[in-house]
Symmetry: C2
Subunit: 425 residues, 2 copies
């Protein structure tokens, strides 16, 4: 495989994490060093920025700001949820992408995201192959949900897990401060896989965690739930419960939809739904006189760069950096993945997984890592997750508040306005 | 005033903060040094621990754990919401307190809390004076709400403000990641005073904050709110709004009660109320096609020791330390308060305020610190609040998760069980 001279473009896609920009930093810093790479662009709002020709010209960015990306949460280039049609159906987008790539001589396309983003990469690459345009396409993994197939874990997960575990340890102290009965329900993200909710077990492992943890991997049974809660409450007068937003009953119905049966129309005629935490609070309120509180970690859990895992931040950058190296070496149609080396000391290296093998698959928590009652995690999970949250990463401070990266330059070509970005205000 | 030999007891009361235990550390470390003080006790669950004779014997605690209190959130001794009856009405509790104080020769009573706790201090002291029991009573201020009268600011506020400002700066990045219309509503604590919600302005001052801030100090008008939101949305397609849980309309009705009109009975016959954020989300949904999200910082904002303000942590310890010194010097019936020295460099010293002057008064944000439209803060507020969040305080880490203080010994006398505490699990 010979040297392929040309520009590189990198895009961010899907929901934010605390370290998606660390992967960007890894990509950009490595790309700027590579002789084969003649231009380095960041697509504003992912594939949409390519279609609309809205790029950041990374060579014109301040290197200090690029370094700051490592501790800046969310997607500095802007993200997107845009699904490419199948090319058999409609080639319009693909033709436009090709046109833009040709105009800038883009020969390296790196895309950061989860399942759907790997699917986008795969489709674009297949189209280029069909029309004979040489371009190396690599995926960089990202998701707080940790559900990507083919990788030991995903960048973004470790930091979210460290945030969740730390916050629960603090809430634990708050929830036990009064000498009275209290039940606290913590709603954590994760629609189909319980990795994030399971990270609550790290708090329990440290001595201040939930008594009960319910994951989407295990069908949720309301009667068993009542029994579990009562048993703990009787024993210690205080129960902390971590639930995944995605828990379902044995018929596959989301427990959060149980609130739907309680739905009402507001004065505007809209049907109002409660989330999972309020639904469980309402259901439990019938059964006990305890004070009950529901807390939803909401999007705080996915953008908390101030409680980043240094391991996660470093690995996210490594994934980006290695994607560039693999591409320059001639690899294409792969996602960079993590492999954990065997042995007592945690060590992580990269490998490649075929894009088409990653797209549309999900990785769930193995049943044998969950306790028999289905309401807690076993040591196997702790051994898996604890190394991923090691090291404290946080942005540098200015006036004791975070100093985030500010990207400013956007390629002027067809731009009528600045893309919405971290620099937009 | 001669030397008063005797034991000291310290209690924690009211809602948790990130630094209430730092005041405890200040009290205990100073009390252990004072020759006049013959015993140092911590009351489990405040005044209730005194009535039930449930104490921590601080001389038996590990000094390292006492130091760790400075970065352990919530109330390590346990808190309480217990209102003493007026002694004219019922002397039972007062007699019991006197009995316990005499048994342990307690001559120093220090109590940490807000308004109500200062009232408790005052009542106990008045009773002792009536029956001729010599005991020095001092209040140590505490409240994230920052609404205590007679002090420049309150321990607990600076850390909560730093958490709120930092979290909003992160949410700002998350909320702007997609190139589509979005409205984010952040619900922040503060029933009657807007100090906490106003701290959102520190995020705006750093470049990533809310566009609109609504405080309980200003009557809330729904039409004006719509206009404000529309105006910002039209301009930038994205609106971040910080609202205090306590906003009320011109008739004094809580906006969160507007949700009450939309209340419904669930299948158990309970009336369900939405909080303020869901209520505003519902109301706005009628007016716009933007994606709207409500986030409640809930009790995360009052126990986030990992984002503590070092200034706040230090001052909280200083308040406790000085309370002991003042008491030993002969002062009684005061609350320790903070005075900010004039001049360009922030400097804070302690002073004393009469307990009876503090009880049942509230300090609100001056109207002239709020902008004319009533939807934002002026430079005067930033100048006031910014020094209070300076310095990053966080607990030491073990396995990259916080290592909190563990108190263990409880005076055995009349105990049948360990009080609920940080050490209870």
């Amino acid at each position: 495989m010979g040297v392929l001279k040309g520009a590189l473009i990198f895009g961010q896609s899907g929901g934010p994490t605390a370290v998606i920009n660390s992967s960007a930093a890894g990509v950009f810093q490595e790309a700027l060093k590579q002789e084969a790479i003649t231009g380095v662009y960041g697509a504003a709002h992912g594939i949409k920025g390519i279609l609309e020709e809205k790029f950041y010209d990374i060579r014109k960015e301040d290197p200090y700001e690029l370094e700051l990306l490592k501790t800046t949460p969310s997607s500095a280039l802007g993200s997107v949820r845009y699904k490419l049609k199948n090319m058999e159906e409609d080639e319009t987008d693909y033709k436009r992408i090709l046109e833009v790539f040709q105009k800038y001589n883009i020969r390296y396309f790196l895309y950061n995201g989860g399942n759907d983003s790997m699917d986008t990469c795969n489709k674009v690459s297949k189209y280029f192959q069909k029309v004979g345009y040489e371009c190396r396409v690599l995926g960089v993994p990202k998701t707080i949900d940790n559900d990507l197939w083919g990788t030991d874990h995903c960048p973004g997960y470790g930091s979210a897990a460290r945030y969740i575990a730390t916050s629960i340890m603090e809430v634990y102290h708050d929830a036990r401060v009064y000498d009275q009965g209290m039940i606290t329900i913590l709603e954590i993200m994760g629609r189909n896989a319980g990795w994030l909710t399971a990270s609550a077990a790290l708090a329990a492992n440290a001595g201040y965690g939930p008594d009960l943890i319910y994951l989407p991997e295990i069908p949720f049974d309301l009667d068993r739930f009542f029994n579990d809660v009562n048993e703990v409450y009787r024993r210690q007068n205080n129960v902390i419960i971590a639930v995944s937003e995605g828990i379902r009953d044995k018929d596959g119905k989301y427990i959060s939809e149980y609130g739907q049966e309680l739905a009402y129309r507001d004065s505007f005629g809209h049907v109002q739904l409660g989330g999972l935490a309020p639904t469980l609070v309402n259901i439990l309120r019938e059964k006990t006189n305890a004070k009950i509180r529901g807390i939803e970690f909401s999007l705080l859990q996915r953008c908390a760069a101030h409680l980043g895992s240094q391991t996660d931040v470093n690995e996210a950058a490594m994934a980006g950096q290695m994607a560039v190296r693999y591409a320059v070496e001639g690899k294409t149609d792969y996602m960079v993945a993590f492999e954990r080396e065997a042995g007592p000391v945690y060590k992580c290296k990269t490998k490649l997984v075929k894009l088409e093998e990653v797209a549309n698959k999900e990785k769930k928590i193995p049943r044998e890592w969950i306790n028999e009652a289905g309401n807690g995690l076993k040591k196997e999970f702790i051994d898996y997750a604890l190394p991923l949250i090691q090291g404290a990463s946080a942005p540098p401070l200015e006036n004791s508040l975070p100093r985030f990266a500010k990207l400013k330059k956007v390629l002027a070509t067809s731009l009528d306005r600045e893309p919405v970005s971290v620099a937009s205000k």
